[in-house]
């Protein structure tokens, strides 16, 4: 599969519907401290099935929903979707009959998350497997969150070995 677009709405500071084109090669993301760059990274991990709030700098999963500012009220839902190209037909069998895969996750305050692939409800596990089969996912070594390099440097040797095991 190939990653084409990331869409967010109501996710953390991205209250307005936002679309990020993931082009070929190297895409740079720049901006001042606190403007939302790492939130984009978290949105990507979240839609791929990140289910630990701690790993999203949150105490509860509802914390990823736009919590409001002095000018705007909080939202009650957040949605992130990923548009994948599947022309190489490398997706799992049940999802492998389409050129394009549209994976989405929507959370409703105090209700929970719903995952969909091409409009059809699926379990979180199905989404995690879809990405795991393509050697990617929320915890993949290819997803290097802010501070992760420093954590690796400070990690005990046994913790580092576990990272290697997960990558294997």
């Amino acid at each position: 599969v190939q990653f084409n677009k990331l869409r967010l709405s109501g996710f953390k500071s991205f209250v307005e519907a936002t679309e990020l084109d993931i082009g070929k090669g190297l895409t740079g993301i720049i901006g001042p401290n606190g403007c939302g760059k790492s939130n984009l990274v978290e949105a990507l991990r979240w839609v791929m099935g990140e289910n630990s709030p701690k790993r999203m700098r949150s105490s509860g999963m509802d914390d990823v929903i736009f919590s409001g500012t002095e000018q705007r009220p909080q939202r009650n839902t957040a949605e992130v979707s990923l548009h994948l190209d599947n022309t190489d037909r490398t997706a799992p069998a049940e999802m492998n009959d389409a050129d394009e895969l549209h994976v989405s996750r929507k959370i409703e305050r105090e209700v929970g998350s719903v995952y969909k692939v091409n409009g059809k409800s699926v379990r979180m596990r199905d989404v995690q497997i879809l990405f795991a089969d393509s050697s990617i996912g929320a915890h993949s070594p290819a997803m290097v969150s802010q501070g992760r390099v420093a954590d690796m440097i400070n990690a005990k040797p046994t913790q580092r070995r576990m990272v290697l095991e997960e990558a294997a």
Partner: protein
């Protein structure tokens, strides 16, 4: 599981040694399983020798050297199981200019087979200049993020004007 770990270890170690020498423009490094006979109980130690220096465990290196060595390990794991996307959030922060340069050269090399798309979050001007395209994230309304396309040439010009 033991077999899988040892086989992954060998592949990652081979990639790691080559990537280290590329990022450091010389020197050598290797991984070692320590502290236990059973690989599933062991620790992963990193030994690195930047050009002209004595071999040392990772904890004795400078901040920038530790970062560059860890980047080599991350990409070694990536090459062992290549992913369709790779996201790097400010990994270049502790690097000096010549190390950022070699880091970007490695990224260009990893990207050229077209199988992996890279998203690189950075504050480094040199990294920005080496990207194929730039997106800026702004908060012109407080607390609300907006994504904008940034013209590379225009951006480089603005930075030079600021510096002057």
């Amino acid at each position: 599981a033991r077999e899988r770990l040892l086989s992954a270890f060998d592949t990652v170690n081979a990639h790691f040694q080559k990537l280290f020498s590329r990022l450091f423009n010389g020197g050598s490094a290797y991984l070692k399983l320590i502290e236990a006979d059973d690989p599933l109980e062991s620790g992963l130690e990193i030994y690195a020798q930047p050009p002209g220096k004595k071999p040392a465990v990772l904890s004795l290196l400078s901040g920038g050297e530790q970062t560059l060595t860890s980047i080599a390990l991350i990409f070694a794991m990536f090459l062992t199981n290549p992913a369709p996307i790779c996201v790097l959030d400010e990994v270049d922060a502790p690097l000096d200019e010549s190390n950022v340069d070699r880091f970007c050269t490695l990224l260009e090399d990893l990207a050229k087979d077209g199988k992996t798309r890279f998203m690189v979050i950075t504050h480094h001007r040199m990294t920005m200049a080496r990207m194929d395209r730039l997106y800026g994230v702004t908060m012109s309304e407080k607390g609300v993020s907006q994504l904008v396309s940034v013209d590379l040439a225009q951006h480089a010009l603005q930075l030079d004007q600021q510096a002057a």
